[in-house]
């Protein structure tokens, strides 16, 4: 089964977008937004798409509107936010596939190379290497899986730092 690639956008930018929108009353025209942020339209769309994937906003017409969930996240504390977002990511098909893959391994871990191969299977027509860093980033944030660059291992669950 093929999945959509993750947008290469950090969590901070997504949260920032939603916070900005909430400050504007919860709704804004996309073009206007891009202009206001002095960001390229393409980049703005990427952030919006990512926020949409997480259920924080939706995009009717040419606007971007904050969802109920988005409001919840913005109002939450730093720690609660993580839990909320983890809740969403747990159900992501791509993340589920990755977690299943990891669970099936001995010691629930794989090497970087193996993960890249797996990603190439899961995400068609995309540069697996590029998606890799987003996935690591979001995985770490949600603490769904972790990555250690020293040993180049990808593993399930919470961080194993000493």
């Amino acid at each position: 089964m093929k999945h959509a690639a993750l947008p290469e956008i950090g969590i901070s930018q997504i949260l920032g977008l939603v916070e900005l929108l909430v400050g504007k009353g919860g709704r804004e025209d996309i073009y206007k937004l891009a202009g206001e942020l002095s960001m390229e339209l393409g980049e703005t769309l990427t952030v919006i798409r990512a926020a949409e994937m997480l259920g924080l906003v939706h995009t009717p017409g040419g606007d971007v509107v904050v969802e109920e969930f988005g409001n919840k996240v913005v109002d939450a504390s730093i720690t609660d936010r993580k839990d909320l977002i983890r809740g969403k990511l747990e159900h992501f098909p791509l993340f589920k596939a990755i977690r299943d893959y990891l669970s099936s391994q001995e010691e629930t871990e794989v090497t970087r190379e193996e993960m890249l191969e797996k990603l190439a299977e899961l995400i068609p027509n995309e540069d697996a290497e590029a998606s890799f860093s987003s996935i690591v980033n979001w995985g770490r944030y949600s603490e769904l899986f972790g990555y250690n660059d020293d040993t180049q291992t990808f593993y399930l669950g919470e961080s194993r730092a000493e």
Partner: protein
């Protein structure tokens, strides 16, 4: 947070000169001001006005050429261990992980490894970096790196937090996010830090965050004005009072 009447840090007639190849340059001239405990102060001004130098003198990184820096009423000598600094370009050591970078700040202050580790974990949680403990700076986005810088500063539990344009190297959306998280941390009752002094060139940011704004003029840096921000937090840019303040700052800068 209601400011106490107790003066935490005070600059008395502080002047700072630098010896450059082209001769001696006076970066800051005869600046005096007080920061009260519990205040959030921002320092704004054109670049080159010496804002960063001012901050470094409060930290103790640089001594004043003339005048005194008083902390809790006593003259400051050397690095002030009750302060901590957050840098514009993060200042993280590339060969240390997130945890190790945060722990570094504690190494000079405590030999108790258990204590240090627990502090590190505590503040990683406070800034939302759980999951990133073993990551290296090269693997992090700008926003995450600055969170590490923040955690490192907070972990030593300073009374005074100094920030040198902490959001300038971040993209717009990330800075919005981090600013809000900073306010969250600021209002956290559990915090040891209650006083913050921040340098920025972003006027709106200054008005959004601080109780008081110090406006510096260009070389040599002198205090061109001071402004108290009497708006309740959270502050909205659409608020007409907000724009009024913006205008006032601009006029003082001119």
């Amino acid at each position: 947070m209601m400011p106490d009447s107790h003066t935490l840090i005070e600059l008395q007639h502080v002047t700072r000169r630098f010896l450059l190849p082209q001769g001696e340059v006076t970066v800051i001239e005869n600046i005096s001001f007080k920061a009260l405990e519990g205040e959030f102060i921002t320092i704004v001004g054109p670049s080159g006005a010496g804002k960063s130098t001012l901050l470094r003198m409060m930290n103790g990184l640089l001594p004043p050429s003339e005048g005194m820096v008083l902390y809790n009423g006593r003259e400051q000598k050397g690095i002030n261990l009750d302060t901590a600094m957050v840098f514009q370009n993060f200042g993280l050591l590339p060969w240390l992980t997130v945890s190790q970078n945060i722990e570094l700040g504690l190494e000079a202050r405590s030999k108790d490894v258990v204590y240090r580790r627990s502090q590190v974990n505590r503040y990683i949680a406070k800034v939302g970096l759980e999951g990133y403990e073993e990551a290296y700076p090269r693997e992090l986005s700008g926003g995450m790196k600055q969170r590490v810088g923040l955690a490192r500063a907070l972990a030593v539990e300073p009374s005074l937090l100094l920030m040198d344009e902490p959001f300038s190297s971040l993209d717009v959306l990330t800075s919005i996010n981090l600013r809000n998280e900073l306010l969250d941390i600021w209002s956290d009752r559990e915090n040891v830090v209650n006083t913050m002094i921040m340098v920025t060139h972003n006027i709106e940011e200054a008005i959004e965050l601080s109780d008081r704004i110090l406006i510096l003029s260009n070389r040599p840096g002198k205090i061109a004005g001071e402004l108290k921000i009497d708006l309740p937090r959270p502050r909205r840019k659409r608020d007409p009072l907000f724009s009024e303040y913006v205008d006032r700052v601009f006029s003082l800068l001119a």
